[in-house]
């Protein structure tokens, strides 16, 4: 059947609409939920020399709401932490009173925070530290990345071959 005169226009509109809807859904749903104030508040409250790393509460140091799942974070929640500063500090006080030891190494969580060690790691003296995420090889500082150009080159190469056929 022959397409109607409006077919191209409708197709184009539909494509744009679908793309727009998809992109909107993706972008509008993004809501960073990290609490950058918490580490210094914890350090100040327990008199720690340094602010604990994000990975003390966030799985692999991935800051965001549903990554607050480390044993220490679970202990905080069990002691009343409810995503607010007031509940955080109250939970820390309660954990200090209870002598909570989330990694079972014999040193309480609050004592580990004061010593700058990770309350989730049973290894004695394991310091808290966050990794840095990003394209270490693809884009080292001051140098262009290679991954995207490589893939684009491959795409152009294959397309060129396909056209020749």
């Amino acid at each position: 059947m022959k397409p109607s005169p409006n077919s191209h226009w409708i197709c184009r509109l539909r494509r744009q609409a679908a793309g727009l809807a998809f992109a909107s859904a993706a972008l509008l749903s993004v809501a960073a939920q990290a609490k950058p104030d918490f580490p210094p508040e914890i350090a100040q409250h327990v008199s720690a020399p340094i602010a604990p790393a994000c990975s003390v509460c966030h799985l692999d140091g991935k800051t965001g709401g549903i990554t607050v799942v480390t044993p220490f974070a679970m202990a905080l929640r069990a002691h009343g932490f409810a995503d607010s500063s007031a509940s955080l500090l109250a939970a820390l006080d309660q954990m200090a009173t209870d002598g909570t030891d989330s990694d079972g190494d014999g040193v309480s969580d609050v004592a580990e925070l004061r010593a700058g060690t990770d309350p989730n790691s049973p290894v004695p003296g394991a310091a808290t530290a966050d990794p840095t995420y990003g394209c270490a090889v693809a884009s080292p500082p001051g140098r262009p990345g290679w991954t995207v150009p490589l893939l684009l080159s491959a795409l152009l190469f294959v397309r060129r071959r396909a056209r020749r056929r």
Binding site: M1, P3, N6, S7, H8, W9, I10, L13, R14, R15, A17, A18, L20, A21, F22, A25, A26, L27, S29, V30, A31, A32, Q33, A34, S55, D60, T63, G64, G65, I66, P71, F72, M74, R77, A78, G80, F81, D83, S87, S102, D103, G104, N120, S121, P122, V123, P124, A126, A129, P131, T132, Y133, G134, A136, V137, A138, A154, L155, R161, A162
Partner: protein
């Protein structure tokens, strides 16, 4: 070869359910706006995921390479995988659609976009609502964008290339390119002997155990082999035949994590034997070493060795099981031996409706003297083509030091993919 023309399929066929007779561009515009709004709401208010479904063994598909660009499964779908998925995944509303309709809906963006045969495109968005309650603490409820990825792949002769790019809610991720922009995988490869053997290099899913969308399952978290963000850079060789498949990967580390001391290097591999199209059993092995273990923050050699199985004794039921032994040898502490187990039943009483029940166990050791247990039930409803909704209710007893926490959580998610 490019199919027919640049006209979209919908314009070519009359009586299409997506496009009623449109008398003018203005009416068409209203229709598209309404459809766009509907799609937007569906995506925003629902969500889920469409990646690796090991229960496809129910449909006598023990292998992965026929349907996925990744020979061990997950991620970008081949043209055949798209059509097969469209045929067996979504709920049927009314009469069985024709093969032509299935073929059209299966294509990228429901066939709205025509792509050349050598180019594979995909996209997925998975927003969700997660609630967590620990012991008698308050329930914490948060929205999360689990996935919003664009994927592209090339299949030209034996040449293979694939890459994904997306955004996530978390501000940082082991898959991060920068900030919350993530690339879970990007690789180049070559397939020999009709895809029986595939050699790949780049950032790859780590071949180990049951490859599944359940990236929070303990067998995936403890072995760090999920398809969410624990991919590694390296070289992998995969083999696939109707009764045997496997992949071995030399792990060079995750080059999206710094400092270098945090990169785990070693190997990971699995082999699965499929004596019947509806049953498979396999073994996995992984050994890596990092100068700064991501969890222990000291040098650690990590091992995981295990068994897994996928069985569909009757068509509506699929059982997935995995058991892994874990061994950590961190500096400054004695070696720790643990185990982790997973058993899941997936029942599909009617096409498109999956009733899920699962149980998990994790032994004491490393940082707890308590065993951990988890049980969950869920429903995954493949509402329509390319869209599914899922709800899960989870109860866990989590060991932490000498204590054990009772964790109750729920997850509501929607998933739409193009």
């Amino acid at each position: 070869m490019r199919s027919a023309s640049t006209h979209c399929l919908i314009a070519r066929s009359s009586g299409n359910i997506l496009v009623p007779n449109m008398r003018s561009p203005r009416i068409a515009a209203y229709f598209v706006r309404a459809a766009t709004l509907s799609l937007f709401l569906v995506i925003l208010l629902s969500s889920s995921r469409a990646d690796a479904y090991p229960w496809m063994v129910r449909h006598d598909h023990p292998g992965c390479v026929q349907c996925h660009m990744d020979p061990s499964g997950a991620g970008l779908l081949t043209a055949y995988g798209r059509e097969e998925g469209e045929a067996v995944l979504p709920m049927r509303w009314g009469a069985q659609p024709s093969d032509e309709t299935i073929a059209r809906r299966a294509r990228f963006a429901w066939g709205l976009v025509d792509t050349p045969d050598w180019l594979l495109l995909g996209a997925g968005v998975r927003p969700g609502l997660v609630g967590v309650k620990v012991d008698s603490g308050a329930m914490s409820v948060q929205t999360v964008l689990m996935q919003a990825d664009l994927r592209a792949g090339i299949r030209a002769g034996g040449f293979r290339a694939s890459a994904s790019l997306g955004v996530v809610t978390v501000d940082s991720s082991p898959a991060s390119v920068t900030g919350n922009l993530v690339s879970r995988e990007h690789w180049l490869g070559y397939a020999f002997a009709h895809d029986s053997v595939t050699l790949r290099a780049g950032r790859l899913n780590v071949p180990f155990g049951i490859r599944s969308i359940e990236h929070t399952a303990w067998v995936r978290q403890q072995t760090r082999t999920d398809i969410n963000d624990t991919q590694q850079d390296g070289v992998a060789l995969a083999y696939s035949s109707p009764w045997l498949r496997g992949e071995a990967m030399g792990i060079a580390g995750n080059y999206q994590v710094s400092p270098a001391a945090r990169r785990e290097r070693g190997y990971s591999a699995y082999v699965e034997v499929d004596p019947r199209p509806w049953a498979g059993v396999g073994v996995s092995s992984l050994v890596t070493r990092a100068d700064l273990d991501p969890n222990l923050h000291v040098a650690n050699t990590r091992q995981a060795h295990g068994l897994f199985a996928r069985v569909s004794p009757v068509t509506p039921l699929v059982l997935l099981a995995e058991f892994d032994a874990l061994l950590d040898a961190p500096t400054g502490m004695g070696a720790s031996r643990r185990w982790v187990g997973f058993l899941q039943a997936d029942v599909e009483p009617r096409q498109g409706i999956h009733l899920i029940a699962a149980g998990e166990g994790l032994s004491a050791g490393l940082n707890t003297t308590q065993r951990s247990w988890s049980g969950w039930v869920g429903v995954d409803w493949f509402v329509w083509s390319h869209i599914d909704l899922r709800a899960d209710f989870v109860r866990q007893a989590l060991g932490a030091g000498p204590e054990r926490f009772q964790v109750t959580s729920f997850i509501l998610q929607g998933h739409a993919y193009l």
